[in-house]
């Protein structure tokens, strides 16, 4: 039993001063009520989104998922989510392809390579980056970073491969799916790398020493003793980042180019695009009819299903890892 320090003792003695006698029942009622409130909120979300998207599904049916038209003109309404599902998946895939290796490398540098006097301030900086609001990332991306992307990455790629690889064959403009993917990567790197760092801390030193004692280099130690030990945790951390990338709205809206209809289906890496969330943000306040609004809410419903699936899987993986390690420690 831990000894009580003076602070705790003071709190205990305060109890005898408190006159107002509260009833346990009232308080436990309150805390249960608060817990129930959180459940109600989830219910409210599910209900609102489901109710809002009923109209469009009864109008379009399942073809809402694979149709490309987006026409809100009265009498000729036709809505399909396909281009935006593709846009969401593609921009998130680019974000993951860039973000995950970099995040892993950063986590590895902080947890395995850097001495504490460098690692500690670095982890502070990554926490700081995670706290920057996405609107500020967006502002910076729109006015500063997109020119870097266009001039330093896109133009060279276009000049080198644009002639014969269709993937790069479009004069880059800086406001496109590729830029959106890179900026999303920048946004999720601090999130993924700080979780990965936490997860890698779970690996006992005895595992690292086992590898070193066999003559492993530092990298071989990480590859052999660290990564396999926490693989599911690292996958989970990446998926939490994926959840953020898929759901991010305002940042994407500012850099993706915002086209609608069939032309929003990307044909090259440098095509302008649209994601589920960016279209909702762009059109919600200008929705011309109930049906149009319902179509937008249905995009939200698809997004909700997508992120929920990703997040639940991710948390399951991260939790499993941390539980397994605490179980092993207690043995």
């Amino acid at each position: 039993m831990t000894a009580l320090d003076s602070k705790h003792r003071r709190y205990l003695s305060a109890l005898f001063v408190v006159r107002n006698k509260r009833h346990d029942k009232l308080f436990s009622g309150l805390v249960v009520g608060a817990a129930v409130y959180t459940l109600l909120m989830v219910g409210l979300v599910a209900f609102s989104v489901a109710k809002g998207s009923v109209d469009i599904f009864s109008y379009e049916g399942v073809q809402f998922f694979y149709q490309s038209d987006w026409n809100a003109v009265e009498g000729r309404e036709s809505f399909g989510a396909y281009p935006y599902i593709i846009g969401t998946l593609l921009s998130s895939a680019i974000a993951m392809a860039i973000g995950v290796p970099i995040s892993l490398a950063i986590a590895m540098f902080i947890s395995e390579i850097a001495p504490p006097r460098i690692g500690t301030p670095l982890s502070f900086i990554t926490e700081l980056l995670a706290a920057v609001p996405s609107i500020i990332y967006g502002l910076w991306a729109l006015f500063v970073f997109r020119f870097w992307v266009r001039d330093l990455i896109e133009m060279p790629l276009y000049n080198a491969f644009g002639g014969y690889i269709p993937f790069f064959a479009k004069t880059p403009f800086g406001l496109d799916i590729f830029t959106a993917g890179i900026v999303l990567a920048i946004m999720i790197i601090p999130i993924i790398s700080s979780i990965c760092r936490e997860v890698m801390r779970v690996v006992p030193d005895s595992q690292r020493e086992a590898a070193y004692s066999l003559g492993a280099t530092r990298w071989e130690t990480v590859r052999m003793a660290v990564f396999p030990y926490v693989k599911s945790g690292l996958v989970g951390a990446s998926m939490l980042g994926l959840g953020r990338a898929v759901g991010e709205t305002i940042l994407v809206t500012m850099v993706i180019g915002n086209v609608i209809g069939p032309s929003a289906i990307p044909t090259t890496l440098f095509s302008q695009g649209q994601t589920l969330s960016s279209l909702v943000a762009n059109e919600f306040n200008e929705a011309s009819s109930e049906l149009h609004l319902s179509a937008l809410i249905a995009l939200g419903a698809i997004l909700l299903a997508l992120t929920m699936g990703i997040n639940i899987a991710a948390r399951f993986l991260v939790k499993k890892k941390i539980k397994a390690s605490s179980g092993a420690k207690s043995q």
Binding site: P116, S213, A225
Partner: protein, 270 residues
């Protein structure tokens, strides 16, 4: 009981290898930051013998052991100086890479630490694959030989694909010994290898140590004096970072020169 019988053998062994020092430890200091955990230790270890480091906890015996394969410096803030000469090569020489050193100097740790995601076979072959060995036949031969030498082969030969963690604690420790032996080390460092095992598991490891010294030079850290007496040919007694006394196990236990050693051996402190 068991102490009496092997003594003659040990005396013989001492004479045979009298002039050959496998490991020479010269003025080695081990530091944690600015704190010196071991001070100017000098000690020579003869080939194909078992040397035990004993002493109360915190005396620096584990630190000294970890200086012998440059594992000590892997602890953040820790470093070591002095010379550790193995087969005429100073492992602390600037031109020497610890990665090369650790192939020749194997290590077994306090707690069994097999790689949990690897099978028994992969655990033993981990070091080989790591070092770029890709001849499958040779790998298989070495794995079998190492497991035999670690007295584990008969117990696991049909379950080589099972995870290493499926074994009992004692078996896991022998798996770790096999993993170290697979690297064909010339020196094997053992850091209290039986401290987390039950008596049966411990006695198997001790038996193994006595057999293995035919091929490798063994340095073992133990907090258990009976164990040191049972398995070692030479014993070094350390106290508060200093090497107090070093000699044949027989002499240290029967006829210690220093009073401190005598008091520790007779259980007056520690």
């Amino acid at each position: 009981m068991a102490i009496e019988e092997p003594i003659e053998d040990k005396e013989e062994a001492v004479q045979q290898t009298a002039e050959r020092y496998k490991v020479r430890i010269e003025k080695v200091n081990g530091w944690y930051g600015s704190k010196r955990a071991i001070r100017d230790v000098n000690l020579n270890v003869k080939e194909k013998t078992v040397t035990a480091f004993i002493g109360p906890s915190g005396c620096g015996k584990t630190t000294l052991l970890r200086c012998l394969n440059r594992m000590h410096e892997m602890t953040p803030g820790a470093h070591a100086d002095g010379r550790v000469v193995v087969d005429g090569i100073d492992i602390y020489d600037k031109s020497i890479d610890p990665v090369i050193i650790r192939r020749r100097i194997g290590m077994v740790f306090q707690k069994p630490n097999p790689f949990p995601t690897m099978s028994i076979f992969d655990n033993v072959s981990a070091g080989l694959r790591l070092n770029g060995m890709n001849n499958k036949t040779i790998i298989r031969e070495i794995v079998e030989e190492s497991l035999r030498n670690a007295a584990l082969w008969d117990e696991v030969k049909n379950d080589l694909d099972n995870p290493g963690m499926s074994l009992s604690g004692g078996q896991q420790q022998r798996l770790c010994i096999a993993r170290a032996l697979a690297m064909q080390p010339e020196v094997l460092l053992m850091d209290e290898p039986t401290s987390s095992l039950d008596p049966i598991g411990s006695s198997k490891i001790e038996e193994l140590v006595r057999v293995l010294k035919d091929n490798v030079t063994i340095i073992i850290v133990t907090h258990n004096m009976q164990q040191a007496a049972r398995v070692s040919d030479f014993t070094a007694f350390m106290y508060l970072g200093d090497l107090i006394e070093y000699g044949s196990t027989n002499q240290i236990f029967m006829n210690p020169e220093k009073e401190l050693t005598e008091r520790y051996i007779s259980g007056k402190f520690g």
